[in-house]
């Protein structure tokens, strides 16, 4: 369980300390496997929580439990004070939670602009007509750096642009909470920095951002707080620098041999 006060607010950002996303004792079993267990988190608006952990640690399962794509076997999910435990994904979206998928999921038969327009048409404050939604989509595409590519089919986008489209669809929902599941995967180093700047910009606009990422430096750069999952449970949680120097984290990632104790 994190008390939001434990994190110093980032300079220049006014944050409302009451969490917009809160989970308590979140748990998911797959048969005998405990994929996620006892995860408590509280994420206020204007904050970024980085979630790291080795493969199979339960990071994507955690996102799926919050977004409603999986139902928890125990625990609760609250968004803006509303209980959304086990709610269907579209209800969670209507409550203001947007997500991206680790494996991008464009609607391949629709143009890039129409992909984003779908989100504008069905989000929490939906735009009623497709024409209006497309205008809104154009603005969002501009923001993520896909301006002028609205008319092409998603299959013609590069890996980086497909990730941008995934983000644009999430943003067109005008969410309060943004769940980013490995949104930087497959990007070239030169493409990562602009993406991080954009995510940080969104946080400064007041979004609560939960980001799952393998690139530790990226997480450290933009997260107010980092949570480490290991075998489905929270190994540790705190400010990035503190967490990343934690011996248990190094051990979970690289194995026992690489901890400072054993190297010296």
């Amino acid at each position: 369980m994190t008390e939001p006060e434990a994190t110093p607010p980032t300079a220049g950002t006014a944050t409302d300390e009451s969490p917009v996303l809160r989970t308590e004792g979140l748990e998911r079993r797959f048969g005998g496997l405990l994929a996620v267990s006892g995860v408590d988190l509280a994420l206020p608006p204007g904050r970024t929580l980085g979630v790291i952990g080795p493969n199979g640690a339960g990071k994507s399962t955690l996102v799926n439990l919050i977004s409603g794509h999986l139902k928890p076997t125990a625990g609760t999910v609250h968004v803006g004070g509303k209980d959304l435990t086990g709610a269907r994904p579209w209800r969670v979206a209507h409550a203001g939670v947007a997500r991206t998928f680790q494996i991008v999921k464009p609607f391949r038969g629709l143009t890039v602009a129409d992909n984003v327009a779908v989100a504008a048409m069905f989000g929490p404050s939906p735009v009623r007509t497709p024409a209006h939604a497309r205008r809104e989509a154009a603005q969002v595409l501009e923001r993520v750096g896909l301006g002028g590519r609205g008319d092409v089919p998603p299959a013609e986008l590069s890996v980086a642009d497909a990730r941008r489209l995934e983000l644009a669809k999430a943003l067109a929902l005008r969410p309060r909470v943004l769940l980013l599941d490995e949104v930087l995967a497959g990007l070239r180093p030169a493409e990562i920095d602009p993406a991080l700047r954009l995510i940080d910009e969104l946080r400064r606009d007041g979004l609560a951002v939960l980001i799952i990422e393998h690139i530790i430096q990226a997480i450290a750069a933009i997260s107010d707080e980092v949570l480490v999952l290991h075998h489905g449970t929270v190994l540790t949680q705190g400010p990035p620098r503190q967490v990343l120097s934690d011996e248990r984290v190094v051990e979970a990632y690289l194995g026992h041999r690489y901890t400072r104790k054993n190297r010296s």
Binding site: S67, G68, H69, R88, P89, W90, A93, H94, A98, R99, F101, K105, P106, F107, R108, G109, L110, T111, D114, A117, V118, A119, M121, F122, G123, P124, P126, R128, T129, P130, D151, V152, P153, P154, A155, E156, K169, A172, L173
Partner: protein, 347 residues
Amino acid sequence: METSTAAAGTGQGEKAPVPRGRRPAWLPWAVGAVAVLACLGLQSQLYSGQERTVTTVFMFVTLAVGWNLIGGFTGYACFGQVGFFGLGAYTTVVLMVHGDLSFWVAWPISAVVAAVFAAAIGLPLLRLKGHYFAVATLGVAEGLRELVTNVPRWTGGGAGITIPSTGAKAPTLWLGNDGFYLLFLGLGAVSALVAALISRGRTGYALRAINQDEDAAAALGINTTWAKTVAFGMSAALTGAAGSAYAFQQVTIYPERLFDVNITVLMVVMVVIGGSGTVSGPILGALGIAVVSEYLRQHFAQWHSFTLGVLIIVAVILLPQGLVNFVRDAVRMRDFSLLSNVRRYRL
């Protein structure tokens, strides 16, 4: 069933993308209106055998457009669609024979009954995907046929049932070849209109999104259960309305013919060949199959079915995404070669 749109992803632009030319918004409506007027004008030029054939084509336009709502737009290949056709037909017969209701009352009721039935079975069945959904719906249609066969007191059972359509006992007098031509033309036109409105509106976007990725669609706030149920219900309503009108046209109906799985197969073939998930594809598919089938019947009577089958196979190999989707892709990529189309779809 993989629908046309799903395959578009394999077209990793060998050519530079060309911005899509926006056609004027009124054009499809104008084409539709002209087509309906042309069909009205055509009527006086046909002798009665031809008129009946064209009437059947209109019916298949309705059926293909109806199937496309669930199988094409939404991507849930319903292999039991003929069940709604038979249900609409037998609802009309029961209402006209036992309830002494006018056809004009029984007709809309039959469409509603088919829609409500589809929504009811849709709630559990639309949780299934792919083959499972196809097989489950096939089972529902077979079940309906058995049900109708086994309540002869109401349906006449396997021996069939006849709607009184002449004389004082008839709730509605038979409409004649001219009347049914207009009835089915109207039904086909309304079906196309419904499909066009759905396609352009929010529902169309929701259905296409569901077709391509249901999890992603739900994550964007689409109530997938509701959208799928609406599509299934609308699809069944059009199919039920066609079945109802067909029953009245035939006067005497039998379960074997009204629940004939070949009718479903024809709907699927027409949609796939014309271009699933589009408005005009099923219409062109129905017209194309009907015209080719009729031509073959007249000129190669013995080899008719075989030749039609071969042509369908060739069409599906060359145009796996259907005619309309092929033309759209070809215009966009400025590549009309069938061979490169086949290559694009990696067949």
